[in-house]
């Protein structure tokens, strides 16, 4: 039995909003339960506003939950801030969406890489820190390393910056990586380099990864399992092949059918109407009910629970 590295129980994150003077809540992340195994790449798939980025930020302690438990490496981390706890920060690292914005524009690249190492006592000697950085850069085929390291962020391309930000995180040797839409701003031809580098390090460090994305093709390429979120709720969790080839939940089916996946076969749309709604004090029942072509009365009254369907597979729908 594989050990879990991260366990999330009943996690909730609400954002207060004022509407017509009344205080309401955007239920960005609402009652999530899942766990990630050691060494596993776990995808979080969803459209904008589904709560996938909020989830990543809460787990990384950049934001704090309303309620719920997060257990990481057998420690309960929910309820704590870990503002500058070296041991925690070293173990969990996050890669962000915008590579151009991930580096202090006033700092040389090597300073930006070195600073986290220095703060987290990864390598106490300045000289060997530099050596390690140069070595890792070479390994990632970012050459000539010395020249790249002595530039400013605006002098590098998006692909280079994103690979360097991966290196920056990996030099801390994290046990868990959160990648938040880390290739969505890059051209297709440079995505592969970034994804493969991420995979190389993940394998080498045997770390687990939470891979947040809206792109089902990228998700199925990189992830072992995928969790589909809609309006703050889990719709389905399954192995990535199953999500792509045999989606069960109506939302997943719609998502897969509307994705511009390139294939020789004609595919049929699983038609749904309407657009994503922000979950501001949502009505009871299934969050997807208002758009679901299969919805019945029960869907608007009773919220479906996330139930086990076969091996490694869960879905939250009354009719699955």
């Amino acid at each position: 039995m594989d050990k879990n590295i991260l366990e999330v129980k009943n996690l909730k994150k609400y954002f207060p909003v004022r509407k017509m003077g009344k205080k309401q809540y955007v239920k960005a992340v609402d009652d999530l339960n899942f766990s990630i195994r050691e060494g596993e790449i776990f995808g979080v798939l969803g459209e904008s506003g589904c709560g996938k980025s909020t989830l990543g930020r809460v787990i990384n302690r950049l934001d704090f939950e309303q309620s719920g438990d997060i257990t990481f490496l057998n420690n309960v981390i929910s309820g704590k801030s870990y503002k500058s706890d070296k041991n925690f920060r070293k173990k969990m690292q996050m890669i962000f969406q915008n590579p151009y914005d991930s580096f202090d524009p006033k700092m040389l690249i090597y300073k930006s890489i070195e600073l986290p190492m220095k703060i987290n006592d990864v390598n106490s000697d300045a000289g060997s820190r530099i050596n390690e950085i140069v070595e890792t850069m070479n390994k990632a085929k970012l050459t000539p390393a010395e020249s790249l390291l002595t530039r400013y962020p605006h002098e590098l391309s998006g692909g280079q910056l994103q690979r360097i930000s991966i290196i920056r995180s990996m030099l801390l040797k994290p046990k868990f990586i959160i990648a938040d839409e880390c290739v969505s701003m890059l051209d297709v031809s440079v995505r592969a380099g970034v994804l493969n580098l991420l995979l190389t390090f993940q394998e080498e460090l045997n770390s687990a990864m939470l891979f947040i994305t809206h792109d089902i093709s990228v998700a199925t390429y990189i992830c072992n399992r995928i969790m589909v979120l809609y309006a703050g709720k889990i719709m389905e969790i399954a192995e990535s092949k199953d999500i792509l080839d045999n989606p069960l939940h109506p939302y997943t089916r719609a998502l897969v059918s509307y994705s511009p996946i390139i294939s020789k076969e004609e595919k049929k749309r699983f038609r749904i109407t309407g657009e994503v709604v922000t979950p501001i004090d949502p009505p009871p029942g299934c969050r997807f009910a208002s758009r679901c072509p299969m919805a019945k009365d029960i869907c608007k009254k009773e919220e479906p629970i996330l139930k086990e369907i076969g091996k490694n597979r869960k879905a939250a729908c009354h009719f699955v």
Binding site: K83, Q93, F96, F103, D104, P105, G127, E146, T150, S169
Partner: protein
């Protein structure tokens, strides 16, 4: 180790040269910088440049400008050229100290307020707004009339009443910088708030404050000159404003006693304003694209 040294030196120089080149393209900025340099040289080497001691009285009172006395003499027979040169010291120091103080306070308060946000920001913003409403010149008048005119008070009060503008600039910068991903990266790699504030937020947001400080230096010199002109300057020190004040009774038949120091005040204000504009031009991201 060697790599590190090689790294930082060559690159930093490079970026600095770029900025300097950028600045030198702005002709007004160059003029301003030139005037300021002349003033600084005058202030530092005053005893060498001045042909007479500024306080030696002679019988040649109110002489018009001549080869002997380049700017003429005042009502006590003192050489005006030497007095203007020594006055540069006082006037420039007022500018630097007052604007420097204003910049330091402004940067700290502004960045703190913008970065922390929330209730901290609300309270500090209200304080900044309150300070902005205080008519600085009258506050100085009150302080001077209560505590007496001492150049230290004057510099302090100018500094303490002009920081809100800097604080506002810095706060706006901090508000936008803290939303950048690299700040989130810093947090997620375990940098402390103080480190983020001093290591990222301030270095990235300070340029508008620097440009504004150049303008404020000119402003401080002008304020001090105004105070001196109405007789509230430091009685023990001779600034340009003081020279104008002293020449005032004789202006009808010895106009040089007020015109010449007046020109210097105007030049200083102009120089600082040119420099301020030049700096803004240099650090304006819109001009970065055209290398």
């Amino acid at each position: 180790m060697t790599a590190e040294n090689r790294i930082s030196l060559s690159r930093h120089e490079n970026k600095l040269t770029k900025s300097v080149k950028m600045y030198l393209r702005d002709i007004k900025g160059v003029i301003g910088l030139f005037i300021l340099l002349v003033f600084i040289v005058m202030a530092i080497f005053a005893p060498v440049i001045a042909p007479y001691s500024p306080d030696t009285m002679t019988d040649d009172v109110l002489q018009s400008p001549s080869l002997n006395h380049l700017f003429g003499t005042d009502h006590l027979g003192r050489d005006l050229f030497s007095r203007v040169i020594f006055g540069t010291r006082i006037s420039l120091s007022v500018g630097f100290v007052a604007a420097g103080l204003s910049a330091i306070i402004g940067v700290f308060i502004g960045s703190f307020s913008g970065y922390y946000g929330g209730a901290t920001d609300d309270i500090i913003s209200k304080v900044i707004d309150t300070f902005l409403m205080i008519p600085a010149f009258f506050l100085i008048l009150i302080i001077v009339s209560i505590f007496g005119s001492n150049i230290m008070y004057i510099m302090l009060v100018i500094g303490l009443t002009t920081w809100p503008r800097n604080a506002r600039l810095m706060r706006a910068q901090a508000l936008s910088i803290k939303e950048k991903t690299f700040i989130t990266v810093a947090r997620s790699t375990g940098e402390s708030n103080m480190r983020i504030l001093f290591g990222h937020v301030i270095p990235n947001g300070i340029f508008p404050v620097i440009a504004n400080s150049a303008l404020q230096m000119g402003g401080a010199i002008l304020t001090e000159a105004s105070l001196s002109f109405i007789g509230l300057g430091d009685p023990n020190l001779t600034s340009w404003g003081k020279l104008i004040y002293q020449g005032r009774p004789y202006m009808t038949y010895a106009p040089w006693t007020i015109v010449i120091p007046g020109i210097f005040v105007v030049l200083a204000v102009l120089a600082f304003s040119f420099i301020g504009d030049g700096l803004q031009f240099t650090f304006n991201p819109k001009n970065k694209g055209e290398k």
